[in-house]
Amino acid sequence: MIDIKDLSIVFGSGRLRVEAVKGLDFHVEEGEAFGLVGESGSGKSTVLRAICGLAPIARGSISINGNKVTEPRGRQFYSTVQMVFQDPYGSLHPRQTIDRILSEPLSIHGQRDQDLRIVAALEEVGLGPAYRFRYPHQLSGGQRQRVAIARALILNPKIVLLDEPTSALDASVQAEILNLLERLRTERGLTYILVSHDLAVVTHLCRRLLVMRNGEMAELTDSSTLRRGQPASAYTRELIRATQGFARAKALSAVPRRICGKAADPLNSAEHMHSGGKNTRPRSP
């Protein structure tokens, strides 16, 4: 579905030249949820932005369905690939109603039955028609993120790029959004690339994942290995330890593990979910 070969992304030139991503290779199967993990500044979001044309490709190639992406991306591309942004407070136009926000992609692509499709899209993300004519400032963070997901899905894309879709939300809402994303993926056969610094989020949603460090691949692994705490590379182990280190006291881990409802594992423990905010990201020492 998605093929990335020797991808390099460079910002600036001369002395200001920064190579954000250096020769990255990976492949994502159709219907798969693929995770990109790493500390902040590791280039994981930049990869997503390069896929949808928001960051320049310096070297290498990105292919969707075997076709190399064009520069600039065509309308066809955007009806196949959509993106959900990290911050639901910044990704919705502050002066447009939800209705207007959702009808925009439909009118750009000249599609009919806007009324029906908007109601259906809201329904699908668990928002009733009562929300249709509200403004974003009348919604909570979780509701806004649902609207953003509805907007991404309204064109029936095959691939959805998720850029830390839950890191701006609080713990209970995080779980709701993750379950929603999981349900949508199985129902519609979507392909996800999920970027997150939060190992719990990634292991919840993705089977295979790529650990990135300084713009390079550190390790290609899968979530069960990670859950068992046996990754191959030392860096990933450090990353896991950083996550656990946040729990501080052992006593805290006795707190009932309710939010993710997953098997007992250090990555999914409740206190970790609570520390999942942007400011408390795990860092390797």
Partner: protein, 310 residues
């Protein structure tokens, strides 16, 4: 009983407007407008400004009914010249024996016309140039902004003078000259606003839906720039009126016998010591209207500012 019915109907209307769950596009838009109005009407100075501006509009519309004496043809030159304010002539008469009140009332049409034409010409130009420069960046930005800088480098009245001198005196040419000289600040503001939102996620999201730059600018960026430009235009209204009056005063704006306020001051200047009312009355009119627009602009800033969260 009837009173009760109306008050309950009003209550229902208010509930309909302030509901959190509007059921149509129109209701959502009206509800948001109603909330802005509630915020605006809480500011007494802004309301005063609004009343002054509304009064100006009403006076301009009903000028013929409000002031019956002709503003152009005076009375008997031997007996009715330069009369002080009194019963027959509320604000006195000028040196052509014309009723000053009538001239002021009819002059409001000219003032309003100048203000509206300048807005209609200058605001779209400024918005377009500013948003395009801000969104496109690169050499488009450089070229458009240098042109703006060139216009900004000239003192406004002097540039307007030059244009009027080239186009010939007259109120329409004065309007064009003022419009040509007043768009650069709007372009600057629109560009600054655009720069702050061009890389925001909601604009990127629309880009990722495949929207063209034209669509992004007109449908997503311009609506966010309009409030600050409207505020600036309203605050500039006073300056526009004064520039028009200044051109009239210099004899390059409205030509006699048109009752233009600036030209009226110029005419009254010759005998300001002995017959003070001839120059003072139009001066007060200009002052009141300028103040009204300024107060209105200040109030609008509080309501429309996109950065002030409701």
């Amino acid at each position: 009983m009837g009173n009760l019915a109306t008050s309950s109907r009003r209550g229902r209307l208010r509930k309909w407007l302030t509901t959190n769950e509007p059921i149509s596009r129109g209701q959502a838009r009206l509800g948001s407008a109603y909330r802005s109005w509630l915020a605006f009407s809480r500011n007494p100075l802004a309301m005063l400004g609004l009343i002054i501006v509304l009064a100006l509009i009403i006076i301009a519309i009903f000028a013929d009914q409000i002031a019956t004496p002709s503003p152009v043809v005076g009375g008997d030159l031997r007996t009715e010249r330069l009369q002080p304010p009194g019963e027959n002539h509320w604000l006195g008469t000028d040196n052509q024996a014309r009723d000053i009140f009538s001239r002021l009332v009819h002059g409001s049409r000219l003032t309003l016309m100048v203000v509206m034409l300048v807005t209609v010409i200058a605001m779209p130009i400024g918005l377009l140039i500013g948003t395009v420069a801000g969104y496109m960046g690169g050499w488009v930005d450089a070229v458009l902004m240098r042109i703006t800088d060139i216009f900004l480098a000239f003192p406004r009245l002097i540039l307007a003078l030059a244009f009027v001198a080239a186009l010939g005196p007259g109120i329409v040419n004065a309007v064009i000259a003022i419009a040509i000289t007043s768009w650069p600040p709007y372009a600057r503001i629109a560009r600054a606003e655009t720069l702050t939102i061009r890389n925001s996620d909601f604009v990127l999201a629309v880009r990722l839906q495949g929207a063209s730059p034209f669509r992004i600018i007109t449908r997503h960026i311009v609506p966010l720039c309009i409030p600050s430009v409207i505020i600036r235009v309203t605050l500039d209204m006073a300056g526009i009126i004064l520039t028009a009056a200044g051109l009239g005063f210099l004899g390059l704006g409205a030509q006699p016998p048109t009752p233009e306020w600036g030209a009226m001051i110029a005419a009254g200047r010759q005998f300001i010591i002995d017959y003070w009312w001839v120059a003072t009355m139009p001066g007060i009119a200009i002052f009141v209207v300028s103040l009204g627009f300024n107060l209105l602009g200040d109030g609008l800033r509080d309501v429309l500012d996109p950065k002030a969260e409701k």
